[in-house]
């Protein structure tokens, strides 16, 4: 397959992920959609790495995976903490930064 197809596919996944972030109410699902976007980025990176015949893109993708893992850890930690304090797990009701 042409490399271009892979990149177009990654654009689709990225757009779907963005739509999900803007649409869903539960922070858990929003984090999941964030994962989608990150994976789309990974796919694009790998595709370009193949295109250039260079493995730098793959290492980049590996590091992105590490970052995604860390971010998930912290995000889930926050959600757990929120749950413990009996706060509603609902993005629309979290607006204390209003000002």
């Amino acid at each position: 397959m042409d490399i271009g197809w892979f990149v177009v596919l990654s654009a689709f996944i990225f757009a779907i992920g963005a739509a999900g972030v803007l649409t869903r109410r539960s922070p858990l699902v929003i984090l999941l959609c964030l994962e989608l976007m990150l994976n789309a980025g990974n796919l694009a990176l790998i595709a370009f790495s193949r295109m250039l015949g260079n493995q730098d893109g793959q290492v980049f993708a590996l590091i992105v995976m590490v970052v995604a893992a860390c971010e998930v850890v912290i995000g889930l930690g926050i959600i757990v903490a929120m749950y413990r304090r009996r706060l509603p797990i609902d993005v629309d009701q979290m607006n204390e930064l209003r000002g």
Partner: protein
């Protein structure tokens, strides 16, 4: 030391005196401030004499020296130095100014003794003398303007010396504002001259003037008229004269110094100094002559009617300066300056005598309340009368020779100038009359209570009050002191008045036509480039003029004597018969009202309009308020974005990102 060295000394002494007195008045004991200041002016006078002697040593051709201390600016065709010019004219003026100032300082030692602002007075006086000498000695227009402005400032300080009197401060402001108008004229004139000739120093301007401007060139006439504006403001000529009578609010020594001998003569000096330019632009010179003549007459008529003693003398000054301005405008330089000198002597003397009389009256200045001081104040009577005789032009006194010489010159020029000369003779008649109006009303007639008290040996005491409005005052700082001083009791006042009386009598000897022409000869080097050098009346014509003048003077004195001595009350009857005329004269030809209506009211109205319409509405409302509301709107818009909702932020992120990508897409197409 060469003449310019003495010239710098002449400037240094009063400056040093002013600094010492103004900085150290707290530590100086008693009346030392006065002695130091007087010594400083004495030093200036001595240096002037040194300057004179050194100048006389030189041959006549090289009697014009310039000494430069410091080049202030020298760039791109503009050169301004701190330089002084020592030539016969400036030496003459320095001698007159420093000599008369020294005597007035002595007078003030006695007159201002009990005033709380004694030291302040003397520092101001020294500052004034310094500024006047700077003006006289300047060798270029820049320094001239500096001295001119300083003199204006000094006169403001001195006129409103008794600063807690509202009439005094008002008079000071009036004088300053009118002087500033003159300053503007002077500066514009200088600029026009610089524009034409490219030089700022006298030598340069005069040398280039002939080639840069043609005869009666529009620009040159405009420049000279602007210079005249400055001269008229400083010398109190119509229509910029309204400040002079009000300036009598200042203490009498101030009136003697500034408004008799020195500041008001600055205009005469200016025209004399700029004579090459005025001769090249006869139209401007004619303006000067006409204004001088008109002022001469108007002032003389007003002096017939006013009742405040000092104001009569003030109008007399205005009138005599009119003579001088007319004189130097018709190129009678020697005569005009001769009259300047004699006038300085007898006018200062008159003011000093008036100060003595006012002291005897306990501060009252109105002629209506004075009378019969002849026996109580013999010294004052004699000196005052000598001054009045000189003013009237009594034969053989100094005023006789100087005033009538001007009129002879004017007549000799012929044409329209003959009319001016006739006006001059008419004014001379009026002068003689009002001079002796003063003498007879103050010293003759039945003695008033104050005179009787003085005869018994003590000065009358009145509650301190404003002589013009009658408001109550106290005698602290800012008001006159508690005691009044008369010449008979103060040795320093006598020491000042006596030399002036002597000079008022004998100074005429310097200009007896056909016999001596000391002054004229001395001033020749300055004026030898005048094209009117050879046009002076013959000896016979001059003597004829003198005889006519003398006759007129005697006639005037005789009429005054008859009206006041032989038939007392005749003046009251005359006043009643000519009531409208008298009111017109007493209100000073309504000049004050005219100028107030023309300039003061519209300016005040414009100021009010500015405050309400421009300031409140535009500046406060639109500019300030507008800026505030724009900031408020901006911040509330920025606040609207901070909703605190996660979804909104995410949306903004995505929207912004897609916008960015769109931009790059478009750019790459």
């Amino acid at each position: 030391m060469n003449p310019t060295g003495y010239g710098w000394l002449v400037l240094a002494f009063p400056l040093a005196g002013m600094l010492v007195v103004s900085l150290g008045w707290r530590v100086l004991p008693g009346r030392a401030a006065g002695w130091i200041a007087s010594a400083a002016i004495g030093g200036a006078f001595a240096s002037s004499i040194g300057m004179l002697l050194q100048l006389l040593d030189k041959p006549e051709e090289s009697r014009s020296l310039v000494g430069t201390a410091y080049t202030y600016a020298d760039t791109a065709g503009f050169r301004a130095d701190l330089s002084i010019l020592v030539d016969p004219l400036s030496v003459f003026m320095c001698l007159v100014v420093s000599g008369v100032s020294f005597l007035i300082h002595l007078y003030s030692l006695g007159y201002m003794t009990s005033d709380e602002g004694f030291a302040r007075f003397f520092s101001y006086l020294n500052f004034f003398v310094f500024s006047m000498l700077l003006l006289i000695l300047a060798a270029n227009f820049v320094l001239l303007i500096v001295g001119w402005a300083f003199v204006g400032a000094a006169s403001y300080l001195l006129i409103s010396f008794w600063y807690r009197r509202s009439t005094a401060t008002g008079a000071g402001i009036k004088a300053f504002v009118i002087n500033v108008i003159g300053d503007v004229g002077l500066v514009i004139g200088t600029f026009l001259l610089f524009d034409g000739t490219g030089a700022l120093d006298y030598a340069g301007v005069f040398a280039e003037a002939e080639s840069a401007f043609g005869r009666n060139d529009g620009e040159l006439v405009a420049a000279c008229v602007m210079l005249l504006l400055g001269a008229f403001a400083k010398s109190a000529q119509v229509p910029l004269h309204t400040w002079l009578p009000d300036a009598m609010e200042g203490p009498t020594p101030v009136s003697a110094l500034i408004h008799a001998a020195t500041m008001v003569t600055a205009g005469v000096y200016l025209i004399a100094r700029m004579h090459p330019l005025f001769e090249l632009a006869p139209a401007a010179a004619d303006v000067g002559a006409v204004v001088g003549a008109v002022t001469m007459l108007i002032a003389a008529t007003i002096a017939l009617a006013v009742t405040d003693l000092k104001r009569v003398i003030a109008y007399s000054t205005m009138s005599q300066i009119g003579y001088m301005i007319m004189g130097v405008s018709v190129a009678a330089y020697g005569a005009g300056l001769f009259h300047l000198m004699t006038h300085a002597f007898f006018k200062a003397l008159l003011f000093m005598g008036a100060g003595s009389v006012i002291g005897a009256m306990g501060g009252v200045q109105s002629l209506d309340r004075m009378g019969g001081f002849r026996k109580a104040m013999p010294f004052t009577f004699v000196t005052f009368t000598i001054g009045a005789l000189a003013l009237a032009g009594f034969p053989l006194f100094s005023g006789f020779f100087s005033k009538d010489e001007i009129l002879a010159f004017t007549l000799n020029r012929g044409g329209g100038y003959a009319v001016l000369a006739v006006v001059g003779y008419l004014a001379a008649a009026l002068t003689a009359f009002y001079a002796f109006r003063m003498v007879f009303r103050v010293f003759f007639g039945a003695p008033v209570p104050e005179a009787r008290e003085l005869e018994e040996g003590h000065i009358a005491h009145a509650d301190p009050a404003n002589p013009a409005t009658g408001e109550k005052e106290d005698t602290g700082v800012g008001f006159p002191g508690p005691e009044h001083h008369v010449a008979e009791k103060e040795p320093s006042m006598k020491a000042a008045m006596a030399p002036l009386a002597l000079l008022a009598i004998v100074a005429g000897a310097m200009g007896i036509p056909g016999v001596t022409d000391t002054l004229e000869h001395f001033l020749e080097p300055t004026f030898e480039d005048s094209r009117f050098r050879e046009t002076h009346p013959s000896e016979g014509e001059e003597w004829l003029g003198l005889i006519v003048g003398g006759a007129i003077c005697l006639l005037g004195i005789a009429v005054a004597a008859v009206m006041y001595l032989r038939r007392p009350g005749s003046t009251a009857r005359l006043r009643a018969r000519l009531a409208p005329v008298h009111t017109f004269l007493e209100n000073k030809w309504y000049f004050d009202e005219l100028l107030t209506g023309l300039f003061v009211r519209p300016t005040a109205a414009f100021g009010r309009f500015g405050r309400t319409a421009i300031e409140s509405v535009f500046v406060q409302g639109v500019l300030v308020g507008g800026a505030v509301s724009i900031v408020r709107a901006g911040t509330s818009f920025a606040r609207a974005i901070q909703t605190g909702e996660l979804r909104a932020y995410a949306f903004l992120l995505v929207a912004g990102f897609s916008g960015l990508v769109l931009y790059f897409l478009i750019v790459s197409i």
